[in-house]
């Protein structure tokens, strides 16, 4: 029924939807939207760095995103005006990435980095993403209670012996890895959309954090599948179609809650 490249695209989109769906809940609860944006914009530099060093793009992006998350986490927790620091990192990362691409990235598709190229993923990408899904979901389940407590407040976490700063750092590091895994699928400019839109949609229908995470994965997966189908049928770009579908779900959820 579908060509093999569509099956690969669907499987990779599903994997990314699962990861962004769950982590996106924390991004919304902890107001880390701009943090995710800064990581994804700067991740372009990781792709260019990987090309320059002749290593895997995944390795380059994840390594850079981890370094940046440490830097951002340290700076934003010590300096007032975190949004300014995040904005500086996001735009500088994007600018340096594009400069680096002009130097080392001959033949590199800037459009693919910015907006993803899910139709070009190979089976090795899918294996890599699904290993990431298994490992990251395991870590999320392991830390879930601590992260929920830390989300409710640093003081409250300290009262039950949870170090909120450490937990926040683990979460930021995991977010960096997910940005690295998702870059090829939806691109640097659209990763944040998959992190926030399904989770924001799910929030309308839930009264517990666990159901919000499950519903967020559901909305993200559905947006991924329907967006891919629309891209296939109407010859639209795949990543933007997935995000637009997620936005339609969000719009419906807002309308439903308004009536």
């Amino acid at each position: 029924m579908f060509a093999e490249f569509m099956i690969r695209a669907f499987l990779s989109g599903l994997g990314v939807a699962i990861l962004t769906g769950v982590l996106g809940c924390f991004v919304i609860w902890r107001r880390m939207v701009y943090f995710g944006d800064a990581l994804s914009h700067a991740a372009i530099l990781g792709v260019v760095g990987a090309i320059a060093l002749h290593v895997s793009a995944y390795f380059g992006v994840i390594a850079l995103a981890l370094i940046l998350s440490v830097l951002l986490f340290t700076l934003t927790s010590r300096i007032q005006g975190a949004d300014v620091i995040l904005g500086v990192f996001a735009q500088t990362g994007l600018a340096l990435g594009l400069i680096g691409a002009s130097i080392w990235g001959r033949g590199l598709s800037i459009e693919a980095i910015l907006f993803g190229d899910i139709l070009a993923v190979g089976w090795h990408d899918i294996i890599f993403i699904w290993i990431g899904v298994a490992v990251i979901l395991g870590i999320i389940l392991w830390r879930w209670s601590n992260w929920i407590t830390a989300t409710l407040g640093d003081d409250l976490a300290a009262s039950v012996g949870v170090n909120a700063k450490h937990e926040s750092f683990y979460l930021a590091a995991l977010l960096a890895i997910v940005v690295g895994l998702a870059l090829k699928i939806v691109g640097a400019l659209l990763i944040t959309a998959l992190l926030i839109i399904p989770a924001a949609t799910a929030r309308r229908f839930t009264s517990t954090p666990e159901t919000m995470a499950v519903l967020s994965v559901g909305f993200g997966s559905a947006a991924s599948a329907i967006g891919l189908w629309a891209a296939y049928v109407f010859d639209w770009p795949a990543g933007p179609s997935m995000v637009a579908t997620a936005a339609v779900f969000f719009g419906i959820s807002q309308w439903r809650s308004a009536v």
Binding site: W29, W144, A158, S159, V160, R203, T208, P209
Partner: protein, 249 residues
């Protein structure tokens, strides 16, 4: 009985700014300590220091019978994001931290404890409501139920009555007195002096760089309250106007 926490020569502040210096106090089981002071005098910083979130500039905080694995804690209501998707029952259950697994559900014993805590806080009928549907007073009761579930020997309350009506305040004060009767120590940051005078055994008055600790009667005198910048002389004379006829009590 040894104190739960013993504070020796404590200096608190940030950078070059000292909020107060030389605090010595013991907090005994069954005592209720009111922390009173003007804005910026270091009340919340004192609470954060006891939680271990801030280091003192100098001095020591000793735990003669060992630092409790958990300290009951109620943050200021304004610090709580009520859009977080959680039901009253689940918020209370989070107090039973050691045995709580959100994916496995609660066992029968914990469920019964949650119901008892919600009933004690007067909010059992709202157990399945999400937090964003609660009023300020109902949310404070829900947060109290979480502290009840913590079952801790030391309980810190940061402005517990700042956004609740008189009826709720009275109910929550009765919860605090229950904790006192159970031998727990309660430290609460308060602005309402009448609640302090009626219900607290000890007071810690902060202000103008000083920290005064003792019984409520010894500390909350007009002279001290004026000297430490908590109120003006006219406010003090109004507040203590009935003292010659037996004081506020």
């Amino acid at each position: 009985m040894p104190p739960i926490v013993s504070i020796e020569n404590l200096f608190l502040g940030f950078g070059d700014v000292t909020l107060f210096d030389g605090l010595n106090c013991d907090v005994e089981p069954g005592s209720i300590l009111a922390v009173v002071g003007a804005n910026g005098s270091g009340k919340s910083t004192f609470v954060k220091t006891l939680l271990g979130l801030q280091s003192p500039m100098d001095g020591r905080i000793e735990w003669p019978v060992g630092k409790p694995a958990e300290i009951g804690y109620l943050a200021q209501l304004t610090e709580f994001d009520r859009r977080f998707p959680i039901r009253v029952r689940d918020l209370a259950a989070m107090g039973a931290w050691q045995g709580f697994n959100p994916f496995a559900g609660l066992n029968k014993t914990t469920r019964n404890r949650v119901d008892a805590a919600l009933e004690m806080a007067g909010i059992l009928d709202l157990a399945d409501h999400p937090l964003h549907t609660l009023s300020g007073g109902q949310l404070q009761r829900a947060l109290f139920s979480r502290v009840i579930m913590q079952d801790a020997p030391l309980i810190l309350l940061d402005e517990p009555f700042s956004a609740v009506d008189q009826y709720t305040e009275q109910h929550l004060l009765s919860v605090i007195e229950t904790w006192q009767s159970e031998g727990r120590a309660v430290i609460m940051v308060l602005h309402d002096l009448s609640a302090v005078l009626d219900h607290c055994t000890h007071a810690l008055l902060l202000g103008n760089g000083r920290a005064s600790f003792g019984t409520v009667d010894d500390i909350l005198t007009p002279d001290r309250l004026i000297a430490q910048g908590y109120m003006s002389s006219s406010q003090a004379s109004w507040m203590f106007r009935g003292q010659s006829n037996g004081g506020m009590r």
